[in-house]
């Protein structure tokens, strides 16, 4: 309860006294621990809790590597020729797109997607009291659901046994990260993170800018090779002169279909205010039964849906990664610790680079594995 004149107890300055010994068992510890160190989910934290990633983030470096390598080859081998023969704006546009892609990628990967903290013991006990349990506690009771009305439509809320709470609407439990995530879209291995309420807009900007970047590079490489072969050389000669262009061509050709497809799919989701999770499960599809079961969250206007999803207010992170763990019921340090620092404030460049590399590969994998 930070609203009273409470002074945070620093275990280092404590002298053990009879009253305090009981409630301050953590006094034995040498330094105060931050909440990310005791976080129950399967996430990894870097930079003292500023950066959050899923545990399996092995694909992110590969993804980053693909983006950086393709763009690197483009700037090194194609741009000089195109600047000479066409216009200087080509590397400028390429550069701007590259910056957009990279920044939105990092932001998607390192942002808390909207993880809900698990219920406290008292809260869980309170919920239990409200549920009828007739069986013994030795087996898992049947799934608990609660029906509520949202905009005059019945929605079922499920009980999460891991987080010990009824999941709010549109929240889903990610088994990979072992967290309940608000407005859960999907877990993207390419990004190395879940995509949820807080980072969906970054994810969307990422795939849109990646579509533009891929198409742009593809177009430029084709133009480059065409212009080169116009001087009377054969195709083989042209390729021999600029082998990097072929590499780029292959990468772009195989990725462009999936990325464009994914962009189109997510544009549809944004316009109808749906999540991938809901779309795949067919939660609001009219095929289920004869009754009208439209999406209760839609604003019934494409523009409003888009604006609400992409330009809506940015909700705060609820897990307070950098707050300090205290042993009694008093709450940790104030709101300064709640503000999430953007990934650009990162000190660990190696981690960042590594993390960003994984992303690109995830993107390709995500696309092929299937939202289509």
């Amino acid at each position: 309860m930070k609203n009273c004149e409470y002074q945070q107890i620093d275990p280092r300055t404590l002298s053990v006294s009879p009253q305090s010994a009981q409630s301050l068992g953590e006094a034995k510890r040498q330094r105060p621990r931050r909440k990310w160190e005791v976080f129950p989910g399967k996430n990894r934290f870097y930079c003292d809790g500023r950066i959050i990633l899923a545990r399996q983030n092995g694909v992110l470096p590969l993804t980053l590597g693909l983006i950086v390598v393709t763009c690197g080859l483009f700037f090194a081998f194609d741009c000089p020729f195109l600047v000479e023969h066409l216009t200087v704006f080509i590397p400028v546009i390429g550069g701007v797109l590259f910056v957009f892609v990279l920044s939105s990628l990092l932001r998607t990967s390192f942002t808390d997607p909207g993880i809900l903290p698990r219920a406290t013991t008292e809260e869980a006990a309170d919920v239990e009291r409200q549920i009828d349990t007739s069986g013994s506690s030795t087996y898992r009771p049947p799934p608990r659901t609660k029906e509520i009305l949202i905009n005059q439509q019945v929605v079922k809320l499920k009980y999460c046994f891991t987080c010990k709470m009824f999941r709010p609407p549109r929240t889903s439990h990610c088994s990979m990260c072992d967290n309940c995530v608000e407005r859960f879209d999907h877990h993207c291995p390419w990004v190395g993170n879940c995509v949820g309420k807080r980072n969906y807009r970054f994810f969307y900007i990422f795939i849109i800018s990646l579509s533009f970047l891929t198409s742009f590079i593809f177009g430029c490489v084709i133009t480059h090779l065409t212009l080169r072969s116009q001087t009377g050389k054969s195709i083989i000669q042209t390729i021999q002169e600029s082998p990097a262009s072929v590499v780029e061509l292959v990468i772009c050709f195989f990725s462009i279909w999936s990325i464009l497809g994914l962009s189109g799919f997510h544009t549809y989701l944004v316009a109808s205010n749906l999540t991938t999770n809901e779309d795949i499960k067919g939660s609001w599809s009219s095929k289920r039964g004869a009754e009208e079961s439209g999406n209760p969250y839609t604003y019934n206007s494409i523009i409003t849906n888009c604006c609400a999803t992409l330009c809506g207010p940015m909700p705060p992170s609820l897990i307070d990664r950098r707050g300090f763990v205290l042993s009694d019921e008093a709450v940790p340090v104030g709101s300064a610790s709640r503000m999430e620092l953007p990934p650009f404030a990162v000190k660990s460049d190696v981690n960042m680079f590594f993390c960003t590399c994984i992303f690109f590969v995830s993107i390709y994998q995500d696309i092929f594995l299937g939202r289509w």
Partner: protein, 158 residues
């Protein structure tokens, strides 16, 4: 049983936690943050219904203001997008500003209304915006507490 406390510090030192009441979210209007205004029975002997409802309604208004989708939020969103979200290094989001106002409001309510009645509000942000937790305290000097479960440990570590 009326337990009088003069300020929050006295509450902390001379009272013991008897029970906690949780005000759940009201999802009838969608996923925006709203809390139920239904008056819990455990508080009937402690505080007037109108005071409680006023507090919850004011909180709901604050959250509605934070989550309002309108001109200002669009400008903020677009500006943030064009600056690659670097703008948030220098300025706070509107949501964060409103959260600070809410924290101040809750502190003020605790000092003026709830602590003198042996109650304490917890800011919903501390509980993942899921519940408004109201702690009911009993005076240690009084003979026994009326409510059942006494959960003092309340450990936040897991």
């Amino acid at each position: 049983m009326a337990t009088e406390f003069h300020n929050l510090q006295e509450l902390r030192h001379s009272a013991s936690l008897a029970n906690k009441v949780f005000i759940q979210r009201d999802y009838s209007e969608g996923t925006t943050c709203r809390f139920q205004t239904k008056f819990p029975s455990e508080l009937e002997s402690r505080i007037e219904q109108t005071l409680f409802e006023d507090t919850v309604k004011t909180l709901n208004n604050y959250y509605a203001e934070a989550e309002k989708i309108g001109g200002q939020s669009y400008v903020e969103g677009c500006l943030a997008c064009f600056t690659a979200y670097l703008i948030f290094l220098c300025m706070e989001t509107r949501y964060e500003k409103v959260l600070k106002k809410i924290a101040k409001y809750i502190q003020e309510q605790n000092e003026k209304i709830y602590a003198p009645r042996g109650l304490l509000l917890t800011d919903p942000i501390e509980r993942g915006m899921r519940v408004v937790e109201i702690s009911i305290y009993e005076d240690r000097g009084s003979s026994g507490s009326s409510s059942g479960s006494s959960s003092v440990s309340g450990s936040t570590t897991r």
